[in-house]
Amino acid sequence: MIKHSLQIQVLYEIAMSIGNETNLFDMLQNSLSVLLRNLNCSAGAVIEYEKKKMNGCSITPIATIPRNIDNLPVYQSALRKISSQLSSSEMAEFIKKLPDTGTVKNQFYYLIMELPGFGFLILIKANTPLEQQMIYSLKPIAEKLSGACIACRQNEKTAQLVEELKIENTERRKAEDALKKSYELFKTVLDSIDATIYVSDMNTYEIIFANQHMKNCFDHELEGEICYRIFRNERQPCAHCTNSKLINKAGNILGVYTWEDQNPITRKWYLNFDRAINWIDGRTVRLQIATDITRLKDLEGELRHSHKMESIGTLAGGIAHDFNNILFMISGNAELLLEDIPKWEPTYKSVEEIKSASMRAAGIVKQLLNFSRKTDQNLIPVDALNVIEDSLNFLRSSIPSTIEVQKKLLISNTTILADPVQINQVLMNICTNASQAMEETGGVLRIEAKIIKLDNSSAEKYLELKEDVYLNIEIIDSGPGIAPEAIDKIFDPYFTTKEFGKGSGMGLAVVHGIIKNHKGSITVNSQIGEGTTFTILLPLIDEKPHIEIKEADQQFGGLESILFVDDEASIVDMSSRMLIKNGYKVTTRTDPVEALELFRSIPGSFDLVITDMTMPQMTGVKLSEKLMEIRSDIPVIICTGHSSLIDEEKAKNLGIAGYIMKPVSMSNLTRSIRDVIDNKFCTDF
């Protein structure tokens, strides 16, 4: 009874000691230690058994106490018994017969027990064997030990997996960190590029990525948006979508597709580079890189405009001479007629109209030349406020009362280098256009003027301007606005939105030319339904304004002898009559060579030579040179309809005493003659 009780105590303690560790070796060492102590055994071992392929098996001692148990012949004997079962079937048969006992020299006894599903337990006892009852009582202990071994093995595998996962996790985290860094670097690079870059899904059109520049352009976080909606305000994929051009029918990526387009939202021009790429998630996506070529387009437009100007200028230059000559004949003969007709004659008014019309026609030719920069300018320092006020005064009388004219002129003592007539022309043109746009509905026309300073970055907006202080004139109307498609052409010659017969389309073209010649800039801003604003910038100067003293329209006579040379007989005749009327002695020639020969024969006979510029055989300048070779003090006046070969400055440099543009009034002609003869260089055009 006591013995039975003791056995139970021992077995209980052994059972309680099993499975207290998760590490297999530690668990077995501990359990074996308790087994040996409680069963009063000398040594013990746990052997793991593993089935191999091809019907074999292997055994491996996992834990032994003592470590050098191999030195015990009794252990070797027990182990040999197990390892001699070579095949799985032999082993199965052997296991069925366990527990097995044996002895070596009756000094040491061994016990082999099965650890089901794991292997074997070997216990070695000195002097006396374990009792049979005890052995069978150990079976449940062995089963529990076996379960603990299997659990520990599983735990080891799990621990190994966890370790591998940890390593993989660490590697993955490293890779993720590296990827994140790489992504940040990639994003930093892309965000720093001044080009719009975006990636979109080729099937859903969803934007997957957009760089910062693109987000700034559209002032929107773009990822997740649909490209055709957010970029172009379309409800469905764009008709011109290039997706189909980026991959072939087999889904293979083709090359880069390049195209130009003006974005309907930003209104900017872009050069687009589209291509399909493989995205990180395996999708084939669309990548677009677009550079803003709006300035290039503007320059293109400027160049086209400039070419147009040049061609028109060439045309203008070509006809100006002949037109001016003809107009001279008309205005000159009209003047002569006016001398002869009494003022009360009904025909007097008609002749006056003829003269006035011809002078207006001359003005238009001047505009044309102005517009194409083929004419001389008369830029003088003028007070900007006076010029604008003059224009406003005239404007009030010429626009309907349904249009309210407002002004806000925040300038004083502001001097610009300008032709006041042309500035007046500019303001009149723009205001007249505005007035016509508001003709039916009425509205407000507002003129504002102020001084602004452009720095380098703000000056960049204006191709022609640099960092400086400018007079800023804004003409703002509350009219219907200008359509987007028209705004780019507004300064083009002959472009007009008015009905046929209501405008030549030259007004704003001339305005543009005038402002350019004044080293300024003109821009327009307009939205449909929101009116139009023209902004003019003119550079300021430090000089005081020129005060013009207008002389009365009078004729200046004299008794001097004048040689008049012009290849146009009608002009010669008319001019001769003008001058004779004013007391001068006039000799005329239509051939410059003849004129030269005449002068050579009697050089002292003439007090003044007036010559046309464009003549066959010899130009007016050439003739002048030859005349001055003969007589160096002979004053010469060039009187020309137009020539690209000479202007006021060139004439002065050549020693020519005067330069007059046809058509010229009798008053100006006679005054010029007087000035020259009286030794002043004169100009009149």
Partner: protein, 254 residues
């Protein structure tokens, strides 16, 4: 030494490493006031919390015996912490222990004079086919747990033992007999090494000399030590840490 927390591990490690090719005999060194202090002499100086292993070449026979008998039990150690038994059968260890003593001897044991009575009532850990392994209770703690010399694992079954001078002295003689049986017949013993627990000395008092006489031999010189706990394997058994036990080694020296 017996108050070392990892003593069992130390003992089993020695056996695991050196195995059955050696016989083992030895004991714990320390102070009777149970305060740890350096008490081991070595070439490295005075050591504490250490063990010294000395190898003898030569055949030997080791005998272990204690003479304590069970008077009550078994009790399951339901809670322990190394060498401190907290509960026996889910009850405070001191309560169970003091009740047994009271019932057996009529003596009331108190925490203040615990060892005066406890020295006669050690605990015995169950072991199959051998004497129980004795554990010497030396102190009762404030939480009614009992401190022993040497570890007592949870789940172990213990009896409360008792003995007298006669049984103890006889046990010493048995230990000698076992050692003589264990030594090889062809060995020529040259010395008897007697390791006897100091608590047996304290128990036997002036009768200790009789215990020495049991081990004495006219033929062989007798050397030994009174120790706090004994380390030995009896014959070819597993190495154990004993308390209140006599260990006799018959050693042949080369």
């Amino acid at each position: 030494m017996g108050l070392q927390i990892e003593l069992a591990l130390y003992i089993s490690s020695i056996f695991t490493v050196f195995g059955l090719e050696n016989n083992y005999i030895g004991g714990g060194a320390g102070s009777l006031n149970m305060v740890s202090k350096p008490c081991l002499f070595s070439n490295e100086g005075l050591l504490m919390d250490h063990g010294i292993i000395v190898f003898f070449e030569g055949r030997s026979g080791i005998g272990v015996n204690h003479g304590w008998k069970s008077v009550s039990g078994p009790y399951r150690v339901t809670s322990s912490d190394h060498n401190i038994i907290k509960t026996l059968d889910w009850k405070p260890a001191f309560d169970v222990y003091s009740n047994v003593i009271q019932n057996h001897s009529g003596q009331k044991i108190t925490k203040d004079q615990f060892f005066d009575i406890a020295k006669a009532y050690p605990l015995g850990i169950a072991k199959l086919g051998a004497e129980r392994v004795v554990r010497d209770p030396i102190k009762a703690l404030d939480d009614d747990s009992i401190m022993c010399v040497g570890e007592v694992m949870e789940g172990t079954f213990v009896d409360i033992l008792n003995g007298d001078a006669k049984s103890l002295i006889a046990a010493a003689g048995n230990a000698k007999k076992i050692s003589l049986q264990a030594i090889n017949d062809h060995a020529k013993p040259s010395i008897i090494l007697f390791i006897d627990c100091i608590s047996r000395v304290l128990f036997l008092e002036d009768k200790f000399k009789y215990e020495i006489n049991e081990v004495w031999s006219n033929d062989l010189p007798l050397v030994g030590a009174c120790t706090i706990g004994e380390i030995a394997n009896s014959g070819s058994d597993y190495l154990e840490f004993y308390n209140k036990t006599s260990v006799v080694g018959i050693i042949e020296s080369k």
